[in-house]
């Protein structure tokens, strides 16, 4: 029987093509848009997690209190031991030590005299050990504008705007001037291996990325880091889970009066991000709900269209003695098929769009002039497995329900009038 329905659908394009197209477009829009909304709102949070806060992060108590001053003298020390402990105690997370520090970049001329100087924000991550995923986490491959990612000690990668201001190009030598953890003046030469563009002006203007070991040597911070960021191995941030991890960790270290004990914080402890998370949950939920309602109306329309279009056909079939119930049942089967096919294609297209936006993004920096500090300049979408069902289920359901409603008309028809109707 399935084969029969299938053949029918294939041969009568009006039975299959249009409804499938409508469902496809509808489902495509639902999926694409849901992915887009998620991506749009979560982008900011995600960017922050990747660049700055992690899903959870560990700093010293004193550092937490003075964070705005970027106090490297209050950094975590003995991180090897701490990292081991974190890895055993919280295997659900990947842990990455980082160092954030401030200073100045000095560009020498041929004779070694200062030619240009500019403030920089150093960010040290493990780039060279090959053991971590930091390069992907920071999207370095995508963000790379020129040159290459540091491959050896002594190489740094700097923000595109900073490079432009200081007139630096890959291969150029620069001197970093800053203070060590102990407060001594420190300078060291680096080679600019490349430039990066994050699309966040605040970073592109000042960022200098380098390997953790280089920074530890530069800042006299042997086995130290300003923070250790934890990323959930599931890839997505779960607030309750992060809060549990945080509480478990802090309970272990609490009690000591030492201001250098490590403390853990979760992403939502950062007030702004916490707010954004709430925003995501409520706003995207509402948007998705509205979408599904509208889509159901669209698809119900499609179902009606399919049902009523074949008014005459049903008339003939009934006149030929087919049971009303059987016609109805066949109609529903057809609807199920068209619904599934349309939804599959729609979902595929929607996911494709989402993935495209997720990996490529649309650069809106041209539209955004001036101090775009919090707005990512690139529009992105986010894929999550539930996108597969968010359009699919309403797609199929709306098609079937639409057909069910419109099909009721079959039962209303009186056999006696059929011949008369068909005459016209």
């Amino acid at each position: 029987m399935i084969k029969f329905i299938f053949t029918g659908l294939l041969r009568d394009k009006s039975r299959s093509l249009l409804p499938i197209l409508v469902i496809m477009i509808g489902v495509f829009l639902t999926v694409g848009m849901t992915g887009y909304i998620r991506g749009f709102i979560e982008d900011f949070v995600d960017q922050n997690a990747r660049l700055q806060t992690g899903h959870v992060n560990v700093v010293t108590k004193a550092y937490a209190q003075n964070e705005s001053l970027m106090p490297i003298d209050l950094a975590l020390l003995g991180i090897d031991t701490l990292m081991k402990k974190l890895e055993t105690d919280f295997p659900g997370y990947t842990w990455s030590p980082r160092i954030n520090f401030g200073g100045m970049l000095d560009v020498p001329d041929e004779s070694g005299e200062s030619k240009k100087q500019g403030p920089v924000m150093g960010m040290a991550v493990d780039l060279l050990s090959g053991k971590t995923d930091e390069i992907n986490r920071l999207n370095l491959h995508t963000a790379l504008a020129e040159g290459h990612i540091p491959e050896a000690s002594g190489e740094v990668i700097i923000g595109e705007e900073l490079a432009r201001k200081l007139d630096l190009h890959p291969g150029d030598k620069v001197t970093f001037i800053g203070s060590t953890m102990e407060g001594s003046l420190t300078f060291r030469n680096f080679t600019v291996s490349g430039t990066i563009r994050y699309g966040v002006r605040q970073m592109d203007n000042v960022i200098m990325l380098l390997d953790l070991k280089d920074a530890q040597a530069l800042l006299d911070m042997e086995n130290g880091a300003t923070q250790i960021l934890g990323y959930s191995k599931q890839g997505v941030y779960f607030d309750e889970e992060a809060a549990r991890t945080r509480d478990a960790f802090n309970k272990k270290y609490a009690g000591s009066g030492d201001q250098f004990i490590p403390v853990m914080r979760s992403l939502s402890d950062e007030p702004t991000l916490g707010y954004y998370l709430t925003y995501i949950n409520s706003f995207s939920g509402l948007m998705i709900f509205i979408l599904i309602v509208i889509m159901s109306i669209v698809l119900w329309n499609a179902g009606l269209l399919g049902g009523l279009r074949r008014y005459n056909e049903f008339g003939i079939r009934l006149a030929m003695g087919e049971e009303k119930g059987h016609v109805y049942k066949m109609l529903l089967y057809e609807a199920l098929f068209t619904g599934i096919i349309g939804s599959v294609f729609g979902t595929l297209l929607g996911v494709a769009l989402t993935l495209f936006l997720q990996y490529k993004g649309i650069d809106i920096s041209g539209m955004v002039q001036g101090g775009a500090m919090i707005m990512p300049n690139i529009i992105r979408a986010k894929f999550s497995p539930d996108l597969l069902s968010v359009g699919f289920i309403p797609g199929v359901a709306a098609m079937v329900i639409g057909t069910m409603l419109s099909g009721i008309a079959i039962f209303k028809r009186e056999t006696a009038k059929l011949i008369k109707e068909l005459e016209i």
Partner: protein
């Protein structure tokens, strides 16, 4: 033409629930566009207003050497503005200092402001009436990060114009609540006179805040930056939000329009006999197309009416009570009020209205293409398509 509209209206009303469902789908887009833009406009307006009331006034007259973005410019970025030019201006002197709350060292910007000013909302009158030796005001964010409360003493150290160290115990006489981070974080406000005495910069200022009546004129060594230029980064930032959101509601609109297209395409199919009859009775195809297009366009009117029905109370509520945000944007350096009151401009409503009507009309027109190629006789039999 009136007949066409009347017919269209009757047809729609007759379709009953189905019409209203279609209109409902479209109305979501309508309401959402107004809701979102109203909120952004509200935010924009509040942010601009806050920035003007707290910091920008009607523009800043800056000493040529002073650049607020460059902390190294503070040392030399001040001067004496000749007396005749000072009309309608509030002087502010900016200086660097260090406070030591609980033995911690915190670099601060000291801003001295004329205590009798009424141009900006910095509550400078508290400084005037205070009996404390060195009264200072802090924004709430600053007070929190320094761990200071009203009435607390705090040691303030600075260097005068000659580089001589000086230090006093200042008293926090007031903590003000503001959404403008530019006057809060890392700053300490005091009386201009006091700061001028403390630094030895008598009669000098780093910049002046203009009031409404100020008429800018070129003054050697001073640059006037008008309100709009000052506000541009604030406005740009907020407008950036609009672009991102536009994609969201345009998609929603697209779905709504799909409903109309769908319905109209279907209606034409189902109503072939009716079309045939109309033509047989002497209507031209053009008139029939117009009638169906009008029907489609009328959906947008219905959508607006429907959207208005459930949207208006919502909009009124949002304009009156606002939406509360649990945090302020201080950490990101943007101005965001704890409660945003939506603002609905006539332009916004008219634009949205036109967008909906025009797009719905176009879509309906697209759906009626088949009528043009229809054979009236076949149509009369219901077999044209």
């Amino acid at each position: 033409m009136i007949l066409v509209w009347k017919l269209a209206y009757k047809n729609l009303i007759r379709a009953g629930l189905k019409t209203w469902l279609n209109a409902l789908a479209l109305s979501f887009a309508f309401v959402l566009i107004i809701f979102y833009n109203g909120m952004i406009d509200g935010w924009n307006m509040e942010a601009r207003q806050d920035a003007v009331e707290w910091d920008y006034g009607y523009g800043h007259l800056r000493n040529a050497g002073y650049d607020p973005a460059d902390p190294f410019s503070i040392q030399d970025g001040h001067g004496i503005l000749p007396e005749p030019f000072r009309k309608d201006l509030t002087p502010v002197l900016v200086w660097q200092g260090t406070i030591y709350p609980q033995g911690r060292m915190m670099p601060v910007l000291i801003k001295g402001i004329e205590v009798n000013q009424e141009t900006v909302k910095i509550p400078s009158e508290i400084l005037k009436t205070s009996t404390a030796g060195y009264p200072v005001l802090l924004g709430r964010k600053m007070a929190e990060s320094a761990g200071l409360k009203k009435g607390d003493p705090v040691l303030l150290r600075w260097r005068d114009k000659n580089g001589t160290f000086d230090a006093v115990e200042a008293t926090v006489v007031g903590i003000f609540e503001t959404n403008v981070p530019f006057v809060d974080g890392g700053q300490l406000w005091m009386s201009l006179k006091t700061l001028q005495e403390m630094t030895g910069l008598h009669d000098e200022a780093s910049f002046y805040i203009a009031n409404e009546a100020y008429v800018p004129e070129p003054i050697d060594g001073w640059t006037f930056i008008d309100q709009e230029t000052l506000l541009k980064p604030v406005t740009d930032l907020i407008n950036a939000k609009k672009y991102g959101a536009a994609i969201m509601y345009l998609l929603l609109l697209a779905i709504g329009l799909l409903v109309i297209f769908d319905t109209q395409a279907f209606a034409i199919f189902r109503r072939q006999k009716e079309i045939g009859t109309h033509i047989a009775m002497g209507m031209t195809k053009g008139e029939v197309i117009r009638m169906f297009t009008a029907e489609g366009a009328m959906y947008s009117i219905f959508a607006i009416v429907l959207g208005g029905l459930y949207g208006t109370p919502l909009f009124i509520y949002l304009a009156k009570n606002g939406i509360s945000f649990p945090v302020s944007g201080d950490t990101m350096g943007i101005i965001i009020a704890p409660t945003i009151y939506s603002v609905y401009s006539a332009a916004l409503i008219v634009k949205t209205f036109l967008l909906l009507v025009i797009s719905a009309t176009l879509v309906s027109l697209l759906a009626t293409r088949k009528i043009a190629t229809m054979n009236p006789v076949e149509a009369l039999k219901g077999k044209a398509l």
